[in-house]
Subunit: 338 residues, 2 copies
């Protein structure tokens, strides 16, 4: 597949984007369109061996702004790299777009340039967490701070489509992140979302899931509002960080462990990485009429390579057809009075 990569978004642009694109092109043959100022990108590419699958699409504007003006800034810079990347998807010149820019800016650009899949009320940000017991797709991670039960039900549908078409899971189990496992638990939003999810045709809703269960393969898709999803995973990240600090300190506290510690270090680093949900392939912006991935601002070459792989897999799958068909069907059956 062909993926447009915003070469100017994120902390290490365009150095890590260029490296990541070259690794991805070599490793799994994806074509990458690097979007950014041609001179800068040419110079960066010249540092590495050539790869004919990596090419440049010029963009001459960059967005510089405070948080408040994101939406305005995205609209007023049509030639910004993120907008050009989305435009390539819109025009059929690319199959997917990846950006490590400010997530609000990327979402706004995707929304303006590509629009929503007809029937989708709110696009949502979801990511795959690769626990050892099984992969879990969690959404929304923050695209929607305030949600309604109908949005939550649609998150279940979109997450289910992703896990079926990209994750390769048959009849994915959809859970609702909640305070307790019993039906009817939670706040007003989750209590109503529970009923909505139960009534939603075409998904395999398995009920409430508590946070202590998330790594135990109790569901394939975990639905939550964007505020809770964002806060809970960040608390999890903070606690993971703390635990690993503690384990390291414990190891270092004894001479007996010191030799082992040197060898353990890479393994600990891997464990932490597998928990940092933004490190492996970024987050998918589902509900947009095209495959869009938002990578972490801190992404390095490996993170971009992983994001390009997810973009490649998702655009090579039947994800978008499934999404369009499912929401068209839902609309038709609701019009028929269901």
């Amino acid at each position: 597949m062909r993926v447009a990569l915003d070469a100017m978004g994120g902390d290490h642009a365009p150095v890590e984007q260029v490296k990541g694109a070259l690794i991805a092109a070599q490793e799994f043959g994806v074509e990458v369109l690097l979007v950014g100022p041609p001179d800068l990108l040419e110079a960066e590419l010249a540092k590495h061996p050539r790869n004919s699958r990596v090419s440049i699409v010029p963009s001459l504007e960059t967005i510089q702004m405070g948080e408040e003006e994101i939406v305005k800034a995205v609209r007023s810079h049509p030639e910004a790299s993120v907008n050009v990347a989305m435009g390539l998807v819109k025009d059929g010149r690319a199959d997917a777009a990846v950006s490590a820019g400010n997530s609000g800016a990327v979402a706004a650009s995707a929304f303006f340039m590509l629009g929503r899949v007809p029937g989708v009320e709110r696009p949502a940000l979801g990511t795959l967490i690769p626990f050892n017991s099984g992969k879990l797709f969690v959404l929304d991670l923050g695209a929607n701070a305030d949600c309604r039960p109908s949005h939550m039900a649609q998150f279940g549908v979109m997450g289910s489509a992703f896990m079926e078409e990209v994750g390769g899971v048959v009849n994915p189990r959809v859970g609702l992140l909640n305070m307790g496992e019993e039906d009817g638990k939670g706040n007003d939003l989750t209590a109503e979302s529970f009923d909505k999810l139960r009534e939603t045709p075409g998904i395999n809703f398995v009920g409430n899931v508590e946070g202590v269960e998330i790594h135990k393969n109790v569901c394939d898709v975990l639905v939550t509002d964007g505020f809770t999803g964002n806060v809970a995973l960040k608390v999890g990240e903070g606690i993971a960080d703390y635990i690993l600090q503690e384990v390291r300190a414990t190891i270092k506290s004894s001479i007996l462990f010191l030799a082992a510690a040197v060898l353990l270090k890479p393994a600990l680093k891997r464990s932490l990485k597998s928990l940092n949900y933004e490190e492996y392939g970024g987050a998918n912006l589902l509900g947009i009429n095209g495959v869009v991935l938002i990578a972490h601002g801190r992404s390095d070459a490996v993170a971009f390579k992983n994001a390009l792989r997810v973009a490649d897999l998702a655009s090579g799958s039947h994800l978008m057809e499934k999404m369009r068909a499912t929401f068209a069907e839902a609309k038709a059956s609701s019009a028929a009075g269901r």
Copy 2:
């Protein structure tokens, strides 16, 4: 101080309660009133050396019920151990009450028997997390699934009083758990709560705190609604559990680490324990007109000992005077048109 301990609440009643009471009485001289069926408690006490500080207060009813009927069940069993324990506090025969019963039942009992501190809209459940960098008091952990901004501001006031009087922190820093650090971030509730907290006199509000920062000593009190607090800490617990599993698996995967692993195990266990927020002393039900602690249902003797210590410390402090004075003042100044 004298603490009433519901000997019949929790998974291991009354075996662990009796053990915990005896350890606490010996270690820090607290007087414990064990509340439950006298025959059963006498038999349990007889298994251990006598301690004159541990005595029995009879209660003859127990509450057995499904989740739905909690409030009704608590009201219709005035002689249940949890109600008798609260009654001892009400009558001034005990300085605090501890129960490991169903948290909804304990909260309902506390509410009916003791009422609220005048001026408090909603009691909240808070706990102290002992990170190495500093202690953090987090509330609400689930007493209120749906909150209003005024509740959140009061949580800040109550948490601040706790950290000042029991935690020994001067002018505690109050943070708001949110999606981002910038002012105005978050969902409707946190955006409005931010303003309310900023306007609240007598607290040292330091703004939004992200989950990735919670272990970094950026605040002393962390305010959140009960749904988010409950879900986020449980996700954190799940992720901590997962990380430790991974670390253990990594250690076991190499013969070189195997010897070290045997010695590391207790340290890993300690790390996990320090993260299990319900293990160390239970959660304080603040806003109730008396010192009430809810211990985890799985509490063992050590957990009960810790809960008795927190109850002892809190009831021996000026916490209740501070709470009553602060909310009386707030009422007076709001009546005066502030």
